[in-house]
């Protein structure tokens, strides 16, 4: 501890504030430093402001306020080339390596950008020596498109080394890596730190941060909410800093939900022997199930096992080659989405902008267009005053944080978009709801809120079919879980769920 405070930071950011043109304050008065030879983990949920902070430090985003000190000297970094010249390197989440260039050409380009004039032959020699010194194995003649994500990251790290960068910042570097690649990356970071580099490691995974970092800085909502020495930190204190106090015990929120007895209730969605074929390949193979009134049925499975095709077929965007879909007893197999929505179906797609919402338009437009197509009392001529009233009601339903109905829908955060979508879909009092990954990409607290909304609506009689990659979510809120693997149903489970047997059938 004492040794750390006596050292001088190699990089220090003071009072960084970044407000994006859409009014989102991504960083608010953030202080942050990195010492020589240490690994700092920047930990936080999506949207916490981690990427913005490192991008501001690297001159990619211009902060509205704040100062950056490098090796004790105040510096004004107005673009990324200047950051490179100073010795600050940022490896972004998807590394920028040109697909059509060789590794040596790509590295040479970056060196030139940083003002280091080298010939291609020298680059190859330099790369070879870097490979020896730090064990950064990259082949200089390989073309960019042939590199795996892990290899591209190594190329980026090699560039940082050749530039003799003092600070290397990595934005969620393990996201696209296999477990083996990830652990070899962490090893390399430790090696780099031991040679005196300052490493900034952005992650949203607590375990990873605890494993690799010397110090952990936690961000939430654009602010630093905690700073810990990795040696003596607990998982709970990190969770609390990430999500705010009191948010940890949400697990089990829904345990006390009464079990729904079925059989007596009529099925709202009834799927019978559904087959979907794409380009000659069967994606969904003879799926049969039903969802009853007031019931939440979860579809579990590893992504890419036919769930998306099933979702599209159920809402009417895809025609099955065989089988039958009934909604409220009506055979809708050959009907389009419009007819299904009119039968009382609400749809919550996984993509918010572009599928659930129309980008570039106002919140009230997004409420109006989806409600006007069905029995909502909005006629051919749209009464915008009425839309305003409905919009206020919709916003109030799930407490969407938005300035008003005229605000562009793009200015909402992911969580608020999802609140808006769910509120709009529930506003039409649907008989059944089909949702896909309803909490994907949302922070924990918002996810819990979304789940509460779903449980509440099911209590009022709506039937839910929830296709989700998040098994934990399904275990929490479902009455029944069906597992999909390679296009077929591999089992049906009822509460109380047995995690192991569900997980086993997912891998089937």
């Amino acid at each position: 501890m004492i040794a750390v405070t006596e050292r001088k930071p190699v990089l220090e950011a003071r009072g960084i504030t970044v407000v994006y043109p859409n009014g989102v304050a991504a960083n608010v008065d953030v202080n942050f430093k990195v010492y020589e030879g240490e690994i700092v983990a920047l930990l936080g949920e999506n949207g916490a402001g981690k990427s913005t902070l490192v991008r501001a430090v690297a001159g990619i985003v211009r902060p509205n306020r704040g100062e950056v000190y490098f090796q004790g000297r105040k510096v004004a970094i107005s673009n990324y080339s200047e950051a490179l010249r100073l010795g600050i390197y940022l490896v972004s989440q998807s590394p920028h390596v040109f697909e059509t260039l060789t590794v040596a050409e790509d590295v040479g380009l970056t060196l030139n950008r940083a003002g280091v004039k080298v010939k291609l032959g020298e680059v190859e020699k330099l790369l070879a020596s870097a490979s020896l010194e730090y064990d950064v194995k990259v082949s200089p003649r390989e073309l960019g498109w042939r590199l795996s994500m892990g290899e591209k990251q190594r190329v980026e790290i090699a560039k940082a080394l050749l530039l003799n960068s003092k600070v290397i910042m990595l934005d969620e570097p393990t996201t696209h890596l296999t477990p083996v690649e990830a652990s070899s990356l962490l090893d390399m970071l430790r090696r780099l730190a031991s040679k005196g580099k300052g490493i900034v490691f952005i992650t949203h995974k607590i375990g990873e941060a605890m494993e690799v970092a010397d110090r952990i800085v936690v961000m939430r909502g654009g602010r630093v909410t905690g700073e810990f020495n990795a040696g003596n930190v607990t998982r709970e204190s990190l969770l609390e800093a990430m999500f705010g106090s009191g948010s940890i015990n949400f697990e089990g929120e829904f345990k006390s939900r009464p079990l729904k007895e079925d059989g007596s209730r009529a099925p709202l969605i009834d799927v019978e022997d559904l087959w979907i074929v794409e380009y000659g390949v069967p994606r969904v193979k003879g799926v049969t199930f039903s969802v009853r009134e007031g019931e939440i049925v979860g579809v579990a499975g590893v992504a890419g096992n036919g769930q998306r095709e099933l979702f599209e077929a159920l809402i009417g965007l895809r025609k099955p080659v065989r089988g039958r879909v009934r909604i409220s007893g009506v055979d809708v197999t050959s009907l389009g989405p419009g007819e299904r929505v009119k039968l009382g179906l609400a749809v919550i797609p996984e993509e918010r902008l572009g599928w659930a919402l129309v980008p570039g338009l106002s919140v009230k437009f997004n409420v109006a267009f989806a409600l006007a197509s069905v029995n909502s009392g909005l006629g051919f001529i749209v009464d915008w005053a009425k839309v305003d009233r409905i919009t206020r009601e919709v916003i109030g339903l799930t407490k969407v944080k938005v300035a008003g109905g005229d605000a562009p829908v793009n200015s909402l955060s992911g969580g608020n978009m999802q609140r808006l979508i769910i509120a709009r879909e529930l506003f039409r009092k649907p008989r059944m709801v089909i949702a896909m990954n309803p909490t994907g990409g949302l922070d924990y607290a918002t996810s819990v809120e979304v789940r509460k909304l779903i449980v509440k609506a099911s209590g009022e009689g709506a039937g839910f079919l929830i296709i989700s990659e998040d098994l934990g979510e399904l275990l929490e809120i479902s009455d029944r879980i069906i597992v999909m693997s390679r296009g077929s149903l591999r089992g049906e489970f009822r509460r109380p769920f047995n995690f192991d047997s569900i997980a086993r059938s997912m891998a089937d």
Binding site: N22, N79, G336, P337, V347, G354, S373, F380
Partner: protein, 340 residues
């Protein structure tokens, strides 16, 4: 690397001021170009002053704006639904021929009101029929509408040339009969008609369910379909609407200033100008109305320059400079330029 960064929070007034500034700079550049072409400063300024401050020139601007505006306003609707048709050119020509037939060849005697309304309706319907064809090809056979509408334009061009030089020929030259004087309309009627169409389509787009559907489908087709709008129906609607208005443009051309037709090789391409105007106005019908007056004024300015002895190449250059500097100014108002 050159970067354009959106400024955000730029008011509409700023954009309009930017456009006006750009136009003024453009005119200065145009004057400079005509000086290089060998016209005296007095002559160059005179052409400019005459365009915007003389009765005959203003009458021409209003008249010419008719077919341009009719194409453009309809296209704003089609483009909002991402139906990138350019059939407006053929629709204007077809509409003109239909109106000419009705008034000069059909032998029907009509009163002043029918003599005005009937050609608009007939031309509009013919334009809509062509639009229907484009939509049908797109919906049923998935033919790209840019290609099909371009090809349809060529077909109409050939057919029009045949009609003008064949069945409609009067005398030794390939020129048709003229619209009888009693059916011709004053130049002031033309902006009244296009203004009315503008308001109608503005209302349709901003106050009706069809407007919601078009807007949603253009920006997020999957969202529109998922929440209950039928894509085919949207495509047919906008194709019919834009075809109808462009057809009316052809009738206005015949009733308002052209009166007769000669081979299409000398046709100035009002339908294509409408495509340009629709893009310039960011698919806003109100802006398209204003922009067609602007484009039509530049066309008149070009004719006056040519009349004062400026070679055609310089004239086209001057017109291009004006449009380009207006566009550049708007871009600079909306975006910040950065070097990376």
């Amino acid at each position: 690397m050159l970067l354009l960064e959106e400024r955000g929070g730029v008011s509409r007034l700023m954009v309009i001021l930017g456009a006006v500034t750009g136009v003024l700079i453009g005119f200065s550049l145009a004057v400079l170009l005509t000086l290089i072409a060998g016209v005296s400063l007095a002559g160059a300024l005179n052409a400019l002053a005459y365009t915007y401050a003389s009765g005959p020139a203003i009458a021409s601007i209003l008249a010419l704006s008719g077919p341009i505006a009719c194409s453009a306003i309809g296209l704003t609707v089609a483009y909002r639904a991402r139906l990138i048709t350019i059939a407006s050119e053929g629709q204007v020509i077809a509409g003109a021929i239909a109106a000419l037939w009705l008034l000069a060849y059909s032998g029907l005697k009509m009163g002043p009101l029918e003599g005005f309304m009937a050609p608009l309706l007939l031309s509009g319907l013919l334009g809509a029929t062509i639009g229907f064809l484009v939509a049908l090809l797109k919906v049923k056979l998935h033919v790209n509408e840019i290609l099909s509408s371009l090809m349809i334009n060529y077909i109409i061009l050939v057919v029009a040339n045949y009609i003008i030089g064949g069945p409609f020929r009067e005398g030794p030259f390939a020129i048709t009969r003229s619209v009888p004087h009693e059916y011709r309309v004053s130049y002031i009627i033309i902006p009244a008609v296009t203004g009315l169409i503008t308001l109608l389509l503005w209302f349709l787009m901003s106050r009706t369910k069809l407007g919601l559907a078009v807007e949603a489908y253009g920006k997020a087709p999957r969202a529109a379909e998922t929440y209950g709008y039928n894509p085919s129906r949207i495509i047919f609607s906008v194709a019919l609407i834009s075809g109808f208005t462009a057809g009316i443009g052809g009738a206005l051309m015949i009733l308002g200033f052209q009166y007769s037709m000669s081979p299409m090789s000398v046709f100035p391409g009002y339908g294509y100008m409408g495509v340009l105007v629709a893009w310039l106005s960011a698919n806003n019908p109100l802006a398209a109305f204003a922009a067609s007056l602007f484009i039509s004024s530049i066309a008149v300015y070009g004719r006056l320059l040519q009349a004062s002895g400026v070679p055609l190449g310089y004239v086209l250059g001057a017109q291009a400079l004006i449009v380009l500097s207006a566009l550049t100014a708007v871009t600079l108002v909306k975006y910040r330029v950065r070097w990376l």
